[in-house]
């Protein structure tokens, strides 16, 4: 049976969580509908980290809510509601992923993700050994504040970032999705993914470095010459 347990102790259910839980247990339909709407997009994105098929991802999300209902009476609030729902979701997603025969991005295997010595920026971008400015930028990175704001915040730019995240190694993709796309705190991510703070930071660092690089390439292509 799927583990609906509350998992590793972490940030406990907050006062707002408590109020929401009370409303749900009292059968407040508006509270339930609101919760579903609030988290739908996020859950879909997270489910997509584990299953490749969009329809399957939507099933995962639907089943997560059913899982909430099944466990609602027993939920003790030792973890936050968000963390608990995330745990239900990932359990369901991983089970379906196994059936899909897709490799599962267990964050505990973060070492397997990338060459541990991979630098954030290619060494060629800096002056080399023997130069008086060894280790310093050769051409400076561009200031994006000189680009039209409309371009930097455009749909096209967002799509590029979306794409760059989608092509990250799985553990890096998980961390940057939860931290930067969905705004989870470092503690929430560490607890949900069972990562140490250091491991989480390394994954985040690598992920952000790659996405920045992809964005730099895109914006560099489209910037008008000086």
């Amino acid at each position: 049976m799927l583990d609906q347990g509350e998992g590793r102790p972490g940030p406990a259910a907050s006062a707002s969580d408590a109020a929401l839980l009370e409303a749900l247990r009292a059968g407040d339909e508006a509270a339930f509908s609101g919760l579903v709407q609030q988290y739908h997009g996020q859950f879909l994105r997270v489910a997509s980290l584990y299953v490749s098929d969009q329809a399957v991802a939507e099933e995962v999300v639907q089943e997560t809510w059913l899982g909430l209902l099944r466990g609602l009476d027993r939920f003790e609030g030792r973890s936050s509601l968000k963390t608990w729902l995330f745990r239900i979701l990932t359990n369901i997603a991983k089970t379906k992923a196994v059936r899909e025969r897709r490799s599962i991005p267990f964050s505990a295997l973060w070492n397997a993700d990338a060459d541990p010595d991979e630098p954030s920026v290619e060494p060629e971008r800096f002056f080399g050994e023997g130069h008086r400015w060894q280790g310093h930028w050769a051409p400076y990175p561009q200031s994006w504040s000189t680009l039209p704001e409309a371009q930097v915040l455009s749909d096209e730019t967002r799509a590029r970032v979306e794409e760059a995240i989608a092509t990250l190694p799985p553990s890096q993709r998980e961390v940057i999705t939860l931290r930067d796309v969905q705004g989870w705190t470092s503690d929430e991510v560490c607890n949900s993914l069972s990562l140490s703070e250091t491991n989480q930071r390394v994954l985040l660092h690598r992920a952000r470095s790659k996405v920045r690089r992809a964005l730099e390439l895109y914006l560099g292509e489209t910037a008008s010459p000086r």
């Binding site: 994105r45 990175p141 561009q142 200031s143 930067d180």
Partner: protein
Amino acid sequence: MTLAANDLTCQELVELVTEYLEGSLPAEARIEFDEHLAMCDGCANYLDQMRRTIEIAGKLTEASISPQAQESLLGAFRGWKSRPQP
């Protein structure tokens, strides 16, 4: 050169950016980092690029739930509401 050996290089700085933004650099390293930013527009630009990247990531749009899926879940909730209570 003794003097240069103490300097933080740009290549080293870019590996510390995430810790900087997380606020987890030790005090001395944090000051060195800021000092480097003051004298290196390249790194100032890099930090800004990184911040913008994070900002854009935070603005990625989320799908909305379809009315059918919403209805279906509401049905499940109503079913749960009428569960036998101890």
